[in-house]
Amino acid sequence: MTANLPKKSLAGMLQKMLEIRFFEEKVFELYGQNLVPGTIHLYAGEEAVAVGVCSALSAKDYITSTHRGHGHCIAKGANLKQVMAEILGKKTGCCKGKGGSMHIADFKIGMLGATAVVGAGLPIAVGAGLSAQIRKTDQVVACFFGEGAANQGTFHESMNMASAWNLPVVFVCENNLYAMGTHQSRTMNIINVAERACGYGIPGVTVDGNDVLLVHETAMTAVARARLGQGPTLVECKTYRRRGHSRVDPARYRPKEEVEEWLRRDPVKLFQEKLLRGGFMLSSEIEQIEKQVADEIEEAVRFAKESPYPAPEEAFDDVYA
């Protein structure tokens, strides 16, 4: 299945997935070299969700993001250099070094910011949808959150409000099975978070979140529904992080067989295999994209490393109260 997409779109999706994968591998490496202050929550392994959803959006649409948000920014089209510089705490970062890994925002591309409070992005996405409705634009908001956030009160408040007001929001639950170290089965009595949608009178769909084309197709339906003023959809994407919760987490709570099974179904590998098998791309073409992305990431790293740190007194910029 290729969702009847032209080759250019397929290549674009692969490129974005590779950008996220290579970017995150590089962030991991830089962290090891003590160049990344604080902590990091890597998106590697979940690329098909961000890319599948963002490829269904237009430039004027909005997204909200989470502490595990590098992938969302890249998929929506953020400048890699500025994102890398932000993660390294540099002045040239998209938030001038004020936000860091957990608080990346890029308003130029409709990326309304990552919040590091689990579940806090949901009502903000509702508000962006409300704004689009009142301003009578046909903008859509994609709201990313994890299955852990589905246990916050904001999940309920936001689903209900968006449904009651028919707002153009696509709620994207990235279910990677673990909220830090706590398996989903220990905190909820259902397997599919999307089942909760029926309680709000909206469609709920569960898909393989490692299949970028399936995520894309599902998102297209949800986005179309939102754009037509028919209200929100809850899309649950089952996925898995390649590494632990944060940089310091070796993720020993995950059974070896489970990890192996998910890594075998790596979203980037699956997509490449599909493209090759279906004859949509040649391996030489894929290699060329890989090389191009690797160069792009190297360039972003060089830019971030060479950029200056903010001057201490910049701590007082944008203080108004």
Binding site: G93, C95, I124, G127, S131, V319, Y320
Partner: protein, 316 residues
């Protein structure tokens, strides 16, 4: 208040209201928004589910995408339910995102005791919001100030926490026919005097003025300073008054510990200690929850007698 909302909504189509029961069927628990749904429609005057965190969150999301929302939280006590969106999101976004966005949002809510509705509907929590960098805090005491500050709040680009006091709604005051706003950070001397400075906010301004006229009969000339906004706080007007009178009593309905009166007291000590002829006195809620039964409630709300007593102590 209603005039301010109506005028701003007529002036700017991006201004809209959201909150519980603010629409045509109720007009707000204190009737502040009465009649506005009829004029502006339900798209711009929106009754919400009982979801305080999502009400503020939705206002934040709308504010960062070009709207100018005014969210009403029915009682100030319920802002506890929305604290993440107020303190972690609205207050932080402009700074945390490196100035890429501002959050032009107003959160209106009534505080204050005195109507026998006990611990969950009577608190004065202004100090919570003073403590979070990134929020402007308004505390109007008169109709003139309330209207002018609310218009200023709606036009500003940063989040404003707009404190109202439920006993102030019925108090009638003169408001000019012509257009005006009241700037933030500019206190108002509500009564000039030479013997002692009384700084008071919200409903306490009226109690302070009553106490001042009682004290006048005894020959004590009280100056009543109303800061009108707590963030930014007009330190200059307070310090100037203290330098003139050499004495200060701070009256605030919120709890004494780590409250509004504590902050103002610290500022006076830091900036005008040499001018003080007697120690700073505070009249504030004595760190209890607000009780229900009228004699209990009256016991903990600062009153004119307590203000008079404190003034006499500092005047010596």
């Amino acid at each position: 208040m209603r005039e301010a909302l109506r005028e701003e909504m007529r002036r700017d189509p991006l201004v809209f209201l959201l909150g519980e029961d603010i629409g045509r069927y109720w007009g707000g628990a204190f009737k502040v928004t009465e009649g506005l749904a009829e004029e502006f429609g339900e798209l711009r005057v929106r009754d919400t589910p009982i979801s305080e965190n999502a009400i503020v969150g939705a206002a934040v999301g709308a504010a960062v995408t070009g709207m100018r929302p005014v969210a009403e939280i029915m009682f100030g006590d319920l802002t506890a339910l929305a604290m993440d969106q107020i303190a972690n999101q609205a207050a932080k976004m402009r700074y945390m995102f490196g100035g890429q966005t501002s959050v032009p949002l107003v959160i209106r809510t009534p505080f204050g005791a005195g109507v026998n509705i006990a611990s969950h509907h009577s608190q004065s929590l202004e100090a919570w919001f003073m403590h979070v960098p990134g929020l402007l805090v308004a505390v109007p005491a008169t109709a003139y100030d309330a209207k002018g500050l609310l218009k200023e709040a709606i036009r500003g680009d940063d989040p404003v926490f707009f404190c109202e006091h439920k006993l102030l709604y019925p108090i009638v005051g003169e408001v000019p026919e012509e257009e005006y706003t009241v700037p933030f950070g500019v206190g108002d001397v509500k009564k000039e005097g030479s013997d002692v400075t009384v700084v008071a906010t919200l409903f306490m301004v009226h109690k302070a003025l009553k106490a001042a006229s009682e004290l006048e009969k005894e020959g004590i000339d009280v100056e009543v300073v109303d800061p009108r906004t707590l963030v930014p706080l007009d330190k200059e007007t307070i310090v100037k008054s203290v330098k003139k009178t050499g004495r200060i009593v701070i009256v605030s309905e919120d709890c004494k510990t780590a409250g509004v009166s504590a902050e103002i007291s610290a500022i006076v000590v830091e900036e005008a200690l040499d001018h003080l002829d007697s120690p700073v006195r505070r009249v504030a809620e004595p760190d209890t929850p607000i009780p229900f039964s009228p004699p209990l409630e009256q016991c903990v709300i600062p009153n004119e007698e307590a203000i008079i007593k404190a003034v006499k102590e500092v005047v010596g």
